[in-house]
């Protein structure tokens, strides 16, 4: 049974990464009890997946009988095709990194809005208190969290599409 599951995971690379590799990363960061590193580790997951795919492509290219060599064997310019594949992977990595920057900025603003919501109010302010302060902070908190989630989901979508293509070629018989 273990052999069957192992074989299935080998042919479903993305599921293998999702089920085996990344939970190990989360567990290790958790065990180290580094609270700030935890958010960095979680936010870097889509980018990690880009480099995993780059590693897979580079590892496969070194092997002359690798899946990418076989896939581009009918082409008259196979080596240029391989370079283009690596270039595309770098393009995906840059795109995901840019999204990650936006996502991290929104994550920080969300945490700052949470802190502002929970900050002690000065009771002496009375009528000088800001209008709709808690409503506005709640609105900003929701907005930053929403943008963070959208950015994170878009990163995963880009990586999913790329990894799907890479995994399909690697799984070719």
């Amino acid at each position: 049974m273990i052999d069957n599951i192992g074989g299935w995971l080998q042919h479903n690379l993305i599921v293998f990464i999702a089920v085996i590799l990344l939970p190990i990363k989360f567990t290790i960061v958790r065990l180290c009890r580094d609270q700030e590193a935890e958010s960095v580790a979680v936010l870097a997951v889509p980018e990690d997946l880009c480099y995993v795919s780059l590693g897979l492509i580079a590892g496969d290219m070194i092997n002359g009988a690798g899946a990418f060599h076989r896939h581009y064997a009918p082409s008259t310019h196979a080596s240029i095709d391989l370079v283009i594949v690596v270039g595309l992977n770098l393009f995906v990595a840059v795109f995901v990194h840019r999204l990650s920057q936006i996502c991290t900025a929104q994550f920080k603003l969300w945490r700052a809005a949470q802190k502002a919501m929970n900050a002690d109010k000065d009771s002496k302010q009375g009528e000088l208190a800001l209008p709709n302060e808690s409503d506005n902070l709640q609105l900003l908190m929701n907005r930053h969290f929403l943008l963070f989630c959208i950015g994170y989901a878009f990163q995963f979508t880009a990586v999913l599409l790329w990894l799907n293509w890479v995994a399909k070629i690697i799984a070719e018989p």
Binding site: N12, I14, S39, M117, L137, C149, A153, L160
Partner: protein, 124 residues
């Protein structure tokens, strides 16, 4: 079938990531926010089609007026962000942009009403 399994795997990674973030850093309403975050990818797809529908069947979306004090609240959040994470001050523009878009909407509506009135009433 294969793509469906992969989508489920990546979606579960997204949910795991957001759950860890919310459990670790969320101050309140953690569970409802996890549910909301889980629905966001679906909502993004639905919103995309809704935006196309609105573009085809309506001229422009309605904009509510910007809440009073939103710009000050933005500055407070920015100050907290700087205290927590450092870095240069970034001038928030959300409230400013909202007020600007609302003003433009009002201007457009006023023009429409004026044109409508002019077609009925004689201009002095």
């Amino acid at each position: 079938m294969r793509l469906a399994i992969e989508i489920v795997a990546i979606y579960s990674l997204y949910i795991t990531g957001v759950t860890i973030i919310l459990k670790r850093y969320g101050k309140k309403d953690t569970l409802p926010m996890i549910v909301a975050a889980g629905a966001i990818p679906v909502l993004v797809v639905v919103s995309f089609f809704e935006a196309i529908f609105l573009m085809v069947f309506r001229s422009a979306p309605r904009v509510r007026p910007c809440p009073e004090g939103l710009d000050v609240a933005e500055m407070i959040v920015e100050r907290h962000r700087q205290e927590m994470f450092g870095g240069e001050t970034q001038h928030p523009k959300f409230a400013f942009e909202w007020a600007r878009v609302y003003a433009l909407t009002l201007e457009r509506e006023t023009k429409t009403v004026k044109n409508f009135a002019r077609s009925f009433l004689p201009v002095a």
